[in-house]
């Protein structure tokens, strides 16, 4: 029995306290032969199943192991992988997918149309409790799979297999941007062996991507090796990636300095000011796709979605010096926000009408504040503006302390922070709509497209708990533009509507954009070809290093 061997193992380790200790513990030895790049990671919070992975710990590994219909290059442009073509029909309400027929999984089986449709149905089916189920909400028949007691192998009616290499997708509503979603983790294919034993698959996944799974030592590392049969757009130039699990960014940074770790994309705040000048490491620092904002709930006193609220929101936004914040607090690992997307996302613009509300202008801020006071006065003795954040986020405290200082210095009001100890509790307060303060929000895109930022976060359909519109912002005008964009024939035209939508947001400020988190990467000496992609990650396939 497993327990016994562990307990005895523990006892032996106790007995041999002075003797060679390294022999104790899980002595699974892994051969690190060839050019294996070690990369800082965190322990996956779910099994390594694409449809059940919604956080970076597992996501980074899944991305290396699987290839979807399409992939994204480092600039966020869509390129075909398994798909030969994806063609819209019926005014963007149906998509016809034709596959290349020479792709295989690591176990030798072919990647077929069913590899996709079965996997998507499995994930969308609530009975299977997969974290990424919501990604299929736009496909016909999704709602029927959300009822309790649905058979676990029930299929999505909106997916029709035409042949081994062809299937169609029926959507409930027209969408021009739907195909851009298809490179995300939720849409990866699964081999037939998955359905025999999902749990076993989750600890030893079989994919069709540039790497294949080797081993996972819990809380220590995950090793993947180059897949020589892969012939897509992103072949590996190294022999494998070793995802080394760290719980603390400072420790990981120290290991890069000491040459024990090759790559790190999570710069600890203790080194954010210095890492670009640190002679012991190499640094890359580019604008990234993660947008950090703070949200005003629509029913917040003085900050509601009305004339007074809009003025006060604008005043607060203009009270903050984003340049200095990014430079001093984040050491230049962030770029001041100028819109509601990100510079690496198609559709970004730095010259939107009304974007000056995101620049520091304390005098203008005071004027706007005074205008709001004329509508409904703010009482400095009783009224306090609070900024909530989750305290287990390592950099939130210093950011929101600085924001609060700026607001109180610029506007002469009382502005304080309200840390909530854990992320779990913080999200609970938000989803229960209990926070009546401004609160920290951040958005990491699922796929590189404007709708993933705007529709998910600010559309009325995503409000009231139906999406990520945590402030319950509702603007019919904005919604209309989103619908127009979705029905637009090309992405270019869609993006024009999205930018018009952003201009509405800049006036209403349901959330105040602060900065784009940079893709900041530190690598050890002797590591080459470190480039960042739209996911704020290094392009792992391209990284090489000197071998002694």
């Amino acid at each position: 029995m497993r327990l016994h061997s562990k307990v005895i193992g523990a006892a032996l380790c106790v007995a041999s306290i002075v003797a060679p200790l390294a022999a104790c513990g899980g002595s699974r030895s892994q051969q690190m032969d060839g050019m294996i790049i070690s990369y800082q990671a965190s322990e996956p919070q779910n099994p390594l199943i694409p449809g059940d992975t919604n956080e970076t710990g597992g996501g980074h590994v899944i991305d290396m192991l699987f290839a979807g219909l399409i992939g994204y290059d480092k600039d966020g442009n869509v390129v075909n992988e398994v798909a030969k073509s994806i063609t819209p029909e019926n005014g963007n309400k149906r998509y016809r997918v034709v596959l290349n027929d020479d792709w295989t999984f690591d176990d030798g089986t072919k990647v077929t149309a069913e590899s996709f449709t079965r996997a998507w149905s499995y994930t969308a089916n609530a009975t299977n409790a997969q974290m990424n189920a919501s990604f299929f909400a736009s496909i016909k028949g999704y709602d029927a799979l959300q009822k309790s007691g649905v058979a676990s192998d029930a299929q999505l009616p909106g997916l029709t297999v035409v042949s081994e290499t062809e299937f169609t997708i029926d959507l409930t509503e027209a969408s021009a941007t739907f195909p851009t979603m298809l490179g995300g983790e939720a849409f990866f294919p699964l081999p037939d062996s998955f359905y025999d034993d999902p749990a076993a698959f989750g600890s030893h996944p079989i994919g069709d991507g540039p790497y294949k799974f080797d081993s996972w030592t819990h809380n220590q590392n995950i090793l993947v090796r180059r897949n020589d049969t892969y012939h897509g757009n992103f072949p590996a130039r190294n022999d494998g990636i070793n995802f080394v699990i760290y719980t603390d960014a400072d420790t990981a940074y120290s290991d890069v300095q000491a040459g024990n770790l090759d790559l790190l994309d999570n710069i600890p705040s203790s080194s954010s000011v210095t890492f670009q000048y640190d002679p012991t490491v190499q640094a890359v620092n580019n604008p990234g796709s993660v947008l950090q904002t703070f949200t005003f709930p629509n029913d917040m006193d003085h900050f509601g979605d009305d004339e007074e609220g809009h003025l006060r929101r604008q005043a607060v936004s203009m009270a903050i010096n984003r340049e200095t914040l990014c430079k001093k607090i984040l050491g230049g690992t962030a770029t001041p926000a100028t819109d509601f997307l990100s510079p690496v996302i198609p559709g970004y613009s730095d010259s939107l009408d009304g974007a000056d509300v995101l620049t520091y202008d304390p005098d203008k801020a005071k004027e706007l504040w005074a205008e709001a006071d004329a509508i409904n006065p703010w009482d400095n003795d009783t009224d306090v503006l609070k900024f909530s954040y989750n305290a287990d986020n390592p950099s939130a405290k210093s950011i929101y302390d600085a924001v609060a200082h700026y607001v109180s210095n610029s506007l002469g009001i009382r502005a304080v922070t309200n840390p909530v100890s854990t992320f779990a509790e913080y999200r609970q307060e938000i989803t229960d709509r209990k926070l009546k303060t401004a609160f920290r929000t951040g958005w990491q895109p699922d796929y590189p497209a404007a709708d993933n930022y705007l529709v998910q976060l600010y559309d009325s359909a995503a409000a009231d708990g139906n999406g990520a519109n945590d402030g319950d912002y509702k603007s019919p005008e904005f919604d209309k533009l989103m619908d127009k964009a979705a029905a637009a024939p090309t992405i270019g035209e869609a993006n024009e509507y999205y930018q018009q939508g952003e201009e509405i947001l800049l006036n209403d400020l349901p959330a105040v954009p602060l900065f784009y988190q940079n893709a900041a990467i530190v690598s050890a000496q002797g590591v080459h070809n470190v480039e960042t992609n739209w996911k704020n990650m290094p392009v792992l396939q391209d990284v090489t290093k000197d071998m002694e």
């Binding site: 400072d250 203790s270 001093k328 607090i329 302390d401 304080v416 840390p419």
Partner: protein, 328 residues
């Protein structure tokens, strides 16, 4: 006292008439008159254990130094504006991590706040946490430990098992939960309460151990034999005689409570963020260790000095209360 030997008479005889060759001098009885063994010197004021202790304390340099320091810390805590002119909450990011300059002897922290002003204003919150927690812990822990150690039997068994339960729960787990219950509260009491809730156990254990030791001492057996009730005996003899280790632990703990507050801040569940405290500032500055060590240094120094003075005070009090160690 000399021991009574059988040949007393013989030696007395010798004293009066030394034998030839015997060099020893023995003073005649009229030069050193016999004293009554149990005589009481009526001219001296009545002495109590505490009065005696106070007299010793006043002459102890350790006490004087620590008392001066504590008075100083208390002054800073009560009247911070006498020591620093600025507003501890006024921070300008433009000054972030600027070095010391005129009017700003300790420089600025990451937020651009004046480190000197914050260190001065942080005294009150940090000191209050330490002092209040210690008082609570000594009362609760001391009482429970004394009862358990003194009465033994089932009282000891029950109380000891309760201490076991509390001791075994990790402080952080308890702290997260309890601090959440009072999360809307903006006072320091929630932190005091949590630290006391998980801190009383160590005092209880020490008290129990030393009471168990003290109750077996001869004077207890004697006073019980003389008919003193068990409760009275506990309070009059056992507790005072087992106080020394408790005082040592309590004074040391006072510092660690201030330190624990810093750890809770490090985890994001410490004092309200609007409150200036050393713990909060130290935990905020630890990540700047490699960039600006001085920001970490000053609040740490203030904390260390405070802890130091309380511990020295505790040592001095212990020396005064424990007559045995006085002859050192």
């Amino acid at each position: 006292m000399t021991s009574q030997t059988p040949d007393t008479t013989a030696s007395q005889a010798c004293a009066s008439a030394p034998l030839a060759g015997q060099e020893r001098y023995v003073a005649p009885l009229d030069e050193t008159p016999l004293q009554q063994v149990d005589s009481i010197d009526e001219s001296q004021p009545a002495s109590s254990m505490w009065a005696e202790a106070w007299r010793t304390l006043r002459r102890n340099p350790l006490f004087i130094v620590s008392a001066v320091l504590i008075v100083l810390v208390l002054l800073v805590a009560f009247f911070p504006s006498l020591f620093a002119k600025g507003d501890p909450n006024y921070c300008d990011l433009e000054h972030s991590l600027d070095p010391a300059g005129p009017g700003h002897p300790f420089g600025y922290d990451l937020m651009g706040c004046d480190v000197y002003t914050r260190t001065v204003y942080g005294t009150r919150a940090s000191l209050s946490v330490g002092v209040l927690t210690t008082i609570l812990v000594v009362i609760v822990g001391g009482l429970i430990g004394a009862l358990a150690g003194y009465f033994g039997g089932w009282v000891d068994a029950v109380l000891s098992r309760i201490t076991d339960i509390f001791y075994a729960i990790p402080l952080l787990l308890g702290a997260i939960v309890v601090l959440q219950m009072f999360r809307t509260s903006e006072s320091i009491w929630k932190v005091v309460f949590v630290l006391a809730l998980f801190g009383w156990v160590s005092v209880a254990r020490i008290t129990r151990g030393s009471v168990m030791e003290a109750k077996n001492l001869e004077f207890n057996t004697a006073s019980e034999a003389l008919g003193l009730s068990r409760i009275k005996n506990l309070f009059r003899h056992v507790i005072p005689n087992s106080l020394a280790p408790v005082i040592v632990v309590a004074t040391t703990s006072l510092g660690t409570y201030i330190v624990s507050e810093a750890t809770l801040s490090f985890l994001g569940i410490g004092l309200p963020s609007t409150m200036v405290s050393w713990g909060g500032d130290i935990s905020a500055a630890q990540s700047l260790l490699r960039v600006a060590p001085s920001v970490l240094f000053w609040p740490s120094l203030a904390l260390a000095i405070t802890v130091l003075s309380f511990i020295m005070m505790g040592d001095a009090v212990r020396d005064a209360l424990d007559p045995k160690s006085r002859t050192l």
